[in-house]
Symmetry: C2
Subunit: 264 residues, 2 copies
Amino acid sequence: MITGTTRLYAIVADPITQVRTPEVLNNFFAANGHDGVLVPMHVAANDLADVVNGLRHMKNLGGFIVTVPHKTALAALCDELGGAARSVGAVNAVRREADGRLVGEMFDGTGFVSGLKSQGHDPAGKRVLLLGSGGAAGAIAYALAQAGVGHLTIANRTLSKAHAIISKVQAHFPDARLDAAAADPAGFDMVVNATSLGMREDDALPIDTQLLQPHQVVAEIIMKPEFTALLQQAQQRGCTIHMGRHMLDQQARLMAEFMHGSAF
Amino acid sequence: MITGTTRLYAIVADPITQVRTPEVLNNFFAANGHDGVLVPMHVAANDLADVVNGLRHMKNLGGFIVTVPHKTALAALCDELGGAARSVGAVNAVRREADGRLVGEMFDGTGFVSGLKSQGHDPAGKRVLLLGSGGAAGAIAYALAQAGVGHLTIANRTLSKAHAIISKVQAHFPDARLDAAAADPAGFDMVVNATSLGMREDDALPIDTQLLQPHQVVAEIIMKPEFTALLQQAQQRGCTIHMGRHMLDQQARLMAEFMHGSAF
């Protein structure tokens, strides 16, 4: 039941009709007894600054989540950024402080790492091969370093992009052991696919799955299809597989607590 | 259930916690099978222009309702005003057109007249004495003229304010018969209290109730207390009484249909 005391939250996106955040977060608020409601706001890229300025002046707004195409643009509109957002240069959740200041953070990486932990795959001290060097890979590299990964290798066709992520992460975690190399899983405990390969049926595999070993964990961030070709072949090779949906489940809770300003 | 396809509506006010509009409108949407949600937005007077500019750029926004203290300021922020809003110089509901244009209208008066009709008190052709010359009185005068009132007399201590309302209403309805006079109910079919007298326990009566006749309808727009001193004394005199809440009930439906762009 929405009343005059209900705290307001939003998800800002374009397009908007496909977003699942309202169902997930409103169920989460209800389960935790929080008098809050999250609503969809359909905003074009050109209008983002106007809408964010409006949201800044809504005194009962807890915060808002953003997704495609606003994550990078929003970073420039916040008054303060968390470590992951600064490292990645993108934001997917904003908390509105009581004085109207907007604090942005990026939860793609911490959501992924929380998802790993929720399934018993704590990356602390492990050797991880990360495939890809886009925004998601950058966020995951940051979160893996934060979680104390033993050694992180980033594999990408364009090596300069992998090196760019490495220098940003090492600016925050100078002791983290990171390098860039080819996509060869030999010697790793875990392989993480942070490329978009696997979303479409005719996509190539992001790695030669014949090289996978049964002791390895193979993780996805792709949510549709849930059971990508990579996960299917990894399972056939005897690997432990980790679905993309765990990242979303954990991220919802992390973003809700961030916007709320404390744990539920 | 709020999803990515849910149409967004808001009520903008300061303070916000006391507003009843979310409950009333969300129940109305649900009862009419409309996939829409109305949420509270707490906005200070100084921030209204920024917030309205933000709302203008939310492509899934149907519209918004405003109440204290924004009704007059909002009129200047709309791209187009309906007749009642132009006459009164205030707005309490805004529809967002698909191209982002904001169309404002004032439903205080039409809500009151719809409330009268819903209780069998059609003012068409009737002689009505209207007490007060504030914003509510102006909106009601406009709506009574629009509804074909037979003769409308406005009674107010400051007669110039009553005359100001009369000229504004006559600009829209040149044939309406309106005048300003003392608060004497003799010869009227209906007496409408549009002053704030009656909200507080020690308020004076807005009229000498000894002059009321049993054939007269005595109407309030005050909602708390529901049974004002005026209504109590009018009932003792044998008059038919008409509660303030009928105005709110009807106004909710009218505003929902206005923001939706068509009847439900």
